[in-house]
């Protein structure tokens, strides 16, 4: 019954989105303007319906209703309840339903709260949003129905991929989806503004919170995903340039560029066409991301979600939306007037450089990700790995970071280079001193980590500079947000540089009782014992680590065997200290009673994710600051009229 109710709600939501699309676009032409009034309520009703459908699915998973095909294929009655719950979207159908639910809820939020945009543009925006939603409803209903029944129902379910049985799963995919969906709202705004030829500061201000929100979620999702891969896969790395990682990085790069260009548009009414273009690009990247994950067209560690037929369907949607938007862009953007102009040395100038560099990095990552696809079409197999990405994206990223420091120190419209030089003197000095110290005391470092580490110090100081000589209590919240986010970049950069320069790794075959030293630690291998969890058994090693004869502490890495489906995973055991992490993994036993142990000492590696969290937190502060200021401005406006 629950499944049928869910399916019914989904059909209703789809019908409402069709209505929203039709009324919305019809209302753009004079005789049907009346229809526009119903668009907001329809958007809200549509969201309510799809939320009901999604809640039904969660209920089915919590009850482990095995007569539903999706539950039987992906769940298991013995799973802990958190994974039953998260399992609702840990599969193709469920995750698509989550996607479209978030999309509809975001659309409803626009309908409820957006008051600054001209009504026609808003209705066009909601119509564009409905078009996107409708495509996914059709996809769900005809190609991946989550509520399909199974006759007869099986006695037990298949279980969930053990790699996904981790608290990280409960939050990583939804976070990225929130990000993707936020970008889709920005895209709808751009389409709406193009349709009504209304690209200007009002449009930019309406779009900005969505871009900012999406960007916060993407930042959080990428940071969390990186940490998840780091401790769950047991390979000791935090970024693998896997196609799917790139698929989440590319929308982030585009959203970062968009975030900055939309500020120029909102504040100075410049970069109109470019901002619209970026909104389309950012959405394309998130769709291409979804497509790459779902179609299995690229080989990836995320291959648990692959189905070529569905890939084809998503490709059709992608072609319709992006192709349509780019056609609209080609037709309409010529009629969008150039905004106000500015001198090369100015805040706008720095933001343009920032945008160009981000676009270049985006382009390089895109080329690297799709290159194997292109060569395979020509009959040649290649794979593009970290050496390419690090060497092409690394230097540009460093340059970008330098611009990031300079930008906030420049005035809008025009500034003098000499003045910038004075403001930058201290950060430059710090970076130079750090470089000198590193060359003297840590010889033989590779060039990228060396520059990265030196720059991170200068950038850290430089990102605090906008607060210099300001009245800190009257500084707007979004300035703090920017400062913290930029500081987070410096912190993250320092972590990456430390990790790649100073990590020590030991791979040994040890007998119980032996001691291995890695970095500042002596790690004694005490032995192994079998243990059992709710749906797995494991071999657990007991390691006793101590630093310079200090108090020893215990680490217990495991090699886990899951029963449903039968899979082995390795559970790392990590000790976090202020100056880094001791990372331990147990591998296979040898014939002679020895065990493979893999130990890493990673100095300051945690800074990478701390920085990521700071970046996201800075985003949150900015968002709150912008929303508050927008409210205040509107109130003052209303009072002025009254």
């Amino acid at each position: 019954m629950i499944a049928e109710a869910g399916l019914g709600a989904l059909w209703l939501a789809a019908a409402l989105s069709l209505l929203q699309l039709f009324f919305g676009f019809a209302a753009l032409k004079p005789p049907a303007e009346e229809l526009g009034r119903s668009v907001r309520p329809i958007a809200i009703a549509q969201a309510a319906m799809v939320v009901i459908a999604f809640l039904c699915l969660i209920q089915l998973f919590l009850r482990t209703d095995l007569s539903v095909k999706l539950v039987a294929e992906n769940s298991h009655s013995l799973k802990p309840w958190l994974y039953k719950f998260a399992g609702a979207w840990g599969n193709h159908e469920g995750s698509m339903l989550l996607w479209v639910t978030v999309l509809a809820v975001a659309g409803a939020a626009v309908a409820l709260f957006e008051r600054r945009l001209p009504e026609r543009t808003l209705i066009a925006t909601l119509a564009a949003q409905a078009t996107i939603g409708l495509g996914f409803y059709i996809f769900l209903l005809f190609a991946s129905n989550p509520f399909d029944r199974l006759e007869p129902p099986p006695v037990e379910g298949n279980g969930l991929n053990p790699l996904l049985q981790d608290p990280g799963l409960a939050f990583h995919p939804p976070t990225l989806y929130f990000g993707y969906v936020g970008i889709s709202i920005a895209f709808s705004f751009a389409v709406g503004a193009l349709l009504t030829r209304d690209v200007g500061p009002a449009f930019a201000r309406a779009m900005r919170p969505w871009v900012l929100g999406a960007w916060i979620f993407l930042t959080t999702g990428i940071t969390a995903g990186s940490y998840w891969a780091y401790y769950e896969l047991g390979w000791g790395g935090w970024w693998f340039w896997d196609p799917v990682e790139n698929a989440s990085l590319m929308p982030w790069l585009a959203a970062t560029a968009l975030l900055h260009s939309v500020t120029v548009l909102a504040t100075r009414d410049g970069l109109r066409a470019w901002t619209v273009m970026l909104a389309v690009v950012a959405f394309s990247m998130s769709m291409i991301g979804t497509f790459l994950v779902r179609s299995g067209i690229l080989t990836s560690v995320h291959a648990f979600a692959v189905d070529p037929r569905r890939g084809f369907f998503i490709l059709i949607l992608l072609a319709l939306y992006i192709g349509g938007a780019l056609t609209l862009y080609g037709l309409r953007v010529g009629t969008v007037k150039e905004g106000s102009t500015f001198e090369p040395v100015s805040r706008e100038g720095a933001l343009v450089v920032n945008n160009l560099l981000l676009s270049v990095v985006l382009g390089l990552v895109l080329i690297g990700t799709l290159y194997p696809l292109v060569t395979e079409a020509m009959g040649d197999k290649v794979s593009v790995g970290p050496p390419y990405f690090n060497s092409v994206a690394g230097p540009i990223a460093l340059l970008l970071v330098v611009i990031m420091v300079a930008g906030p120190l420049l005035r809008w419209r025009r500034d003098r280079l000499k003045a910038l030089g004075q403001r930058l003197a201290l950060p430059v000095l710090l970076a130079a001193l750090a470089l000198l110290a590193l060359v003297l005391f840590a010889p033989g470092m590779h060039i990228l980590p060396l520059l990265g580490l030196a720059l991170s110090l200068g950038v850290g100081a430089g990102s605090l500079a906008p607060l210099w000589k300001r009245n800190l209590r009257r500084t707007p919240l979004f300035i703090y947000g920017m400062v913290i986010a930029h500081l987070g970049i410096a912190v993250s950069l320092a972590g990456m540089a430390c990790d790649s320069a100073f990590t020590q790794e030991k791979l040994v075959a040890a007998r119980p009782g032996e001691t291995v030293s890695v970095g500042p630690y002596d790690v004694k291998f005490l032995g192994v014992e079998p243990i059992a969890g709710p749906n797995w058994t494991a071999i657990q090693a007991t390691l006793s680590a101590s630093r310079g004869g200090g108090t020893p502490f215990t680490l217990t890495p495991q090699a886990r065997m899951f029963s449903a489906p039968p899979t082995e995973t390795s559970e790392t055991s990590i000790a976090t200290r202020l100056d880094g992490q001791l990372y331990t993994v147990i591998g296979k036993p040898g014939d002679d009673g020895r065990w493979q142990l893999r130990l890493w000492w990673k100095p300051f590696v945690t800074l990478i994710w701390l920085g990521g969290a700071m970046i996201a937190f800075g985003g949150v502060l900015s968002l709150i600051g912008r929303v508050l200021r927008g409210r205040r401005a509107r109130r003052e406006e209303e009072e002025a009229y009254a």
Partner: protein, 175 residues
Amino acid sequence: MRRTILWLPLGLFLLFVAVVIFQLRHGSDTTIRSQMIGKAMPEFALQPIVPGHAGLSLADLKSGQPHLVNVFASWCLPCRVEAPQLMALKQRGIPIEGIAVRDRTEDLTPFLAQAGDPFDRIGSDPQSRVQFDLGSSGVPESYVIDGKGVIRLQHIGDIRPEDVDDIARAWEAAK
């Protein structure tokens, strides 16, 4: 000029869609092509191992007529499974020669008695030397060798019933 640039993103995007459609339609090709095809069979001369079958050397294969060479062993279970298919190929008039890898007479004799004996000659390759030269990484593997001793087909793994026609065709083509 400026007008054209506005359409550039659409052009690039359509290119992407075209490549991706091509890839999806063709599917990704996971077959690894044999590096041995078109190469001359290396020089070798293997001793006989079971009574009633002469040993095998390169000169035996350069008879002007194509042969099927089966790399096998009595200790290999898939070899037992593919035996009926070898018999079927034999019945189509294809001469089959065997290379017995790391095998013993006392094991091989009952194996041939049980599974069937489609072989004309059987050479013993106790150290896997010839197997290695053939670019074979396991048993069973089968090669179609033309009358001049050139490898025309490498079939990795056991010959399934559905492979019989393909191999017979390759043998016809090698004539």
